[in-house]
């Protein structure tokens, strides 16, 4: 009796699992079904490398958006990684242990704040500041980079803290026993040992930055041109989708799905890299 009902439960769970996975597959299939025909029609080269985005006249070049996305992401990394990793190193290696208990919740709070709030602060405070100090419209790649940097800082910091925590204490003790100062021990031994985890943190931060939409729409300016300086206004891939998806039909809509495919693949590569790095060193996320 027990056997039979156990089998029944197993079948039910299998059904549920299949249904769930099917639902998730639907999204992937849908995106590719809508976007791939477009890529074949237009040609991958033209789509990715043309700088002409004028959907009304049938031009669908997203090269400026790709460059903008990469630029604000790298910019965000330039802001978020040093701050995040420095904070992680200080807290893990040099700060008093009590500090960690009060800083970690603060960082998690930062991680939970909605992106629109960051965007708003960017528009009200950051953009005017950039405009006044450096010129240009203020709504720019630079503004987006700084806002994104602050947004991915918690991700980078917490993964870095975990990476540093997983370095065996014996490594530190060994270095100190050999006469190194604490900083030398950290610099020459701990950081090297945790390097893969730190790298994975940065890659995951990049993934988050590339996918951000609202904050970027608010502070980057959304101009369709190729940015040539950090003070230029720019439109990322995500902003492009968000601005046009409400009314895009036919080929235009397919172009947006194709943009989605590009993002999907980029993030898949980033996550794959981060995942394999983490697994190799035994930190399972």
């Amino acid at each position: 009796m027990k056997r039979a009902s156990d089998k029944l439960v197993e079948r039910l769970l299998l059904a549920i699992a299949l249904t769930t996975i099917l639902c998730l597959l639907v999204i992937a299939v849908f995106i590719f079904k809508e976007g791939l025909p477009f890529i074949f029609k237009i040609g991958l080269g033209d789509f990715l490398f043309s700088s002409d985005w004028r959907p009304d006249s049938g031009h669908y070049g997203i090269f400026p958006m790709i460059v903008s996305s990469l630029w604000v992401t790298l910019g965000g990394l330039l802001v978020g990684a040093p701050l995040g990793m420095s904070g992680a190193i200080f807290l893990s290696e040099f700060g008093p242990p009590a500090m960690m208990r009060f800083v970690k919740p603060a960082i998690e709070l930062l991680a939970g704040i909605p992106s629109v709030v960051f965007g708003f602060i960017g528009v009200m405070v950051l953009a005017p500041f950039i405009r006044a100090v450096a010129g240009g419209p203020g709504l720019s790649v630079l503004a987006a980079s700084i806002v994104l940097g602050v947004m991915i800082l918690p991700t980078i910091m917490s993964i870095s803290i975990d990476a540093l925590a997983s370095v065996p204490q014996s490594y530190r003790e060994g270095a100190l026993a050999l006469g190194a100062t604490k900083w030398q021990a950290v610099r020459m031994v701990v950081l090297k040992a945790a390097s893969s985890g730190l790298l994975a943190g940065m890659i995951l931060g990049m993934g988050r930055a590339i996918g951000e939409t609202m904050a970027v729409i608010m502070v980057a300016g959304n101009a369709v041109k190729m940015p040539t300086s950090s003070l230029d206004s720019a439109r990322t891939l995500t902003a492009n989708i968000a601005l046009e998806m409400g009314y895009a039909t036919g080929m235009h809509r397919q172009a947006l799905f194709a943009t989605g495919i590009v993002l999907f693949i980029v993030i898949m590569i980033l996550n794959g890299m981060a995942g394999s790095i983490l697994k190799k060193r035994g930190h399972l996320r």
Binding site: L139, A223, V224, L243, G246
Partner: protein, 275 residues
């Protein structure tokens, strides 16, 4: 925890699961019933605040009908009316595009497009030609149009915006400069121009306030009288677009908007009446 194990001891569902199921079913049931009295408007962000106010007024007078308003721009309004996501598509366009041919278009108001600059900007008037050249990216510095030296920050709307289509159509078709900052609603354009002293933008006349300064175009100021008389040329109608036969709820709302109360409400906030 209980939801994870819906089957209690004798294989019967726990009470909370019953409650959940019952509420879900009743929600879906009431949904189907409620659909008949639902009127969704979507589209023009220029008309959106007015539509929301009209909806508020209509909803309190007719509580059995549920009028809701979404934004998204005129092109989304057309698209939503065509695919059924909205019963009424709102579009503020000087000329309706080809794909709106199958929709019934009713003019409910007319609106002027005010060209605005930051209040501290010396420039108070531009010609239509200058305006077009600025937006095409050929005039790039304020000193070329009588202002203090400084690069012009051109602010425009996304390509699906009725305000933008109308603006570009009236000025004479041109390609918007690629340097233009793009914002996604009339309200955001107002805020951007209010914050950037070197910017220029355009938005619905009904949304101008003290934060920005409307300039004269070809010597004509954007005022209600000059809009009505036709002297100010940046005007466009606001359409309600419906597909096929409308439900009584939809007809009722459109009648209200076209009626004296609705039109008075529209005019009170700076729009022009339908006729």
């Amino acid at each position: 925890m209980i939801l994870l194990f819906p089957k209690g001891r004798a294989g019967r569902l726990h009470a909370p699961t019953w409650v959940l199921l019952a509420s879900v079913i009743s929600m879906i049931g009431s949904a189907c019933a409620g659909r008949a009295g639902a009127v969704t408007l979507a589209g023009s962000t220029a008309f959106q605040p007015f539509a929301e106010k009209l909806a508020e007024e209509y909803n309190s007078a007719h509580p059995e009908v549920n009028v809701t308003v979404q934004g998204g721009g005129s092109a989304l309004g057309i698209s939503a009316a065509l695919n059924g996501a909205a019963q009424i598509g709102m579009a503020d366009l000087v000329e309706l595009p080809a794909d709106a041919a199958s929709l019934k278009a009713t003019i409910v108001a007319r609106d002027g497009i005010a060209v605005v600059v930051n209040p501290v900007n010396k420039v108070s008037s531009l010609s239509m030609v200058q305006l077009k050249e600025i937006y095409a990216g050929n005039i790039r510095d304020w000193k070329d149009v009588g202002g203090l030296s400084g690069p012009i920050t051109v602010v425009s709307r996304e390509s699906g915006s009725g305000t933008r289509s109308s603006f570009e159509t009236i000025l004479g078709k041109f390609d918007l400069t690629r340097d233009a900052i793009i914002q996604d609603s009339n309200g955001t354009i107002r805020e951007t121009v209010a914050n950037d002293v070197r910017s220029i933008g355009y938005l619905s006349y009904g949304l101008v306030n003290q934060k920005i300064k409307a300039i004269t175009v070809d010597g004509v100021a954007c005022t209600t009288e000059l809009l009505l008389s036709g002297k100010y040329r940046l005007v466009r109608p606001i359409y309600f677009l419906t597909l096929g036969a409308s439900t009584p709820a939809v007809k009722g709302f459109i009648d209200y908007v076209l009626g004296p109360a609705g039109q008075a409400s529209i005019v009170a906030d700076g729009l022009l009446p339908a006729t």
